[in-house]
């Protein structure tokens, strides 16, 4: 069921804050779990500059990948991914697509269109 290394080996060897240089990402509005992260052309060019988890994140975002997926793929807590992605975003290496519901919250017509699209997609599965 779970492929987490931590559960197989009884714990990871590096404590999470080590990966983020001690930062917790507190104080900023956290990226949504389903926000999509994609490597930019700049990120592609500078990818050899990144190390460890940041390099893994960049490698996994050649196609758009959600924050929550990155956490599962890298087997690190969501908070670590959020901090690292925010850094990569600041450096222009990745771009982040927020979930669409919030900007649309005040726009019923656009939201209704989106819901119809979701419905069509589900019915066509």
């Amino acid at each position: 069921m779970t492929s987490n290394r931590a559960t197989q080996t009884g714990g990871r060897m590096v404590r999470p804050y080590t990966m983020t240089g001690g930062r917790t990402g507190a104080g900023q509005r956290p990226l949504a779990l389903e926000a999509l992260v994609a490597m930019t052309p700049a990120g592609m060019r500078m990818r050899s500059r990144f190390r460890w988890e940041a390099a893994e994140i960049v490698a996994h975002t050649r196609s758009e990948t959600a924050i929550i997926e990155l956490a599962a793929l890298l087997d690190v807590p969501v908070g670590v991914v959020r901090v690292l992605v925010a850094d990569l975003q600041e450096q222009g290496a990745v771009k982040v697509t927020d979930p669409v519901t919030e900007p649309f919250a005040d726009d019923d017509a656009a939201y209704t269109d989106l819901l119809h699209k979701v419905l069509d997609g589900l019915n066509a599965l």
């Binding site: 999470p16 959600a66 997926e69 599962a72 969501v78 901090v83 771009k95 697509t97 979930p99 919250a105």
Partner: protein, 192 residues
């Protein structure tokens, strides 16, 4: 932090219910990826998800979230999130529900009370939800009206029966969720 819009739009539906009711099975029946498990580090007393090391806290623990993904269109992807079942993790539900287009309250009629917290939560929050009775034990023991009475939910909340292992059943429940949300949006009563 400005975000640019790229080609793909993410949406999500939350699947809640008591511990062991079949949330992971439900997600796995329709997800195009194996349901994945992701961790957040929290403290027992924490009120937010994933502040990695809240000041002064010594009792950090991890909580697992199951999720799945369904590509709906070339530019639209649906994420399904199973809520952590244990009561001490209920504070996480708010983050999971934020921005969700709707929710499923999964019910096992043998332990009907296990879904009360989920129903209370979605009602309080104003998140549109559908009650899905998991019949994976083979028998439909109750009618929709009996379930409605037992759960004390109003006539506006749709009730569906599904086998959480069966893809088409899960698909039907998700369709019901989106239809219900559409109805609520049209009538002007939706929280996001």
């Amino acid at each position: 932090m400005p975000s640019e819009r790229t080609g793909l739009t993410p949406v999500k539906i939350v699947v809640a219910g008591g511990f062991g009711v079949g949330k992971t099975t439900f997600v796995g029946a329709i997800s195009e990826i194996e349901p994945l498990r992701s961790e957040a580090i929290i403290t027992e007393a924490s009120s937010g998800v994933d502040e990695l090391f809240p000041e002064g806290s010594k009792t950090e623990t991890t909580v697992a979230m199951d999720f799945g993904r369904i590509s709906l269109k070339h530019d639209l992807v649906l994420y399904l999130f199973g809520t952590p079942g244990q009561e001490r993790f209920h504070f996480m539900w708010d983050e999971l529900a934020r921005g969700a287009i709707g929710a499923v309250a999964l019910v096992d009629t043998r332990r009907i009370e296990a879904c009360f917290p989920a129903i209370d939560f979605f009602e309080r929050r104003g998140t549109p939800f559908v009650v899905a009775v998991n019949t994976f034990h083979g028998h439909r023991l109750h009618t929709a009206e009996q379930v409605r009475e037992a759960l004390l939910i109003g006539p506006e909340v749709p009730i569906a029966f599904c086998d959480a292992r069966v893809r088409v059943d899960v698909q039907r429940v998700l369709v019901a969720v989106v239809e219900h949300t559409l109805k609520r949006v049209m009538s002007g009563a939706v929280a996001s």
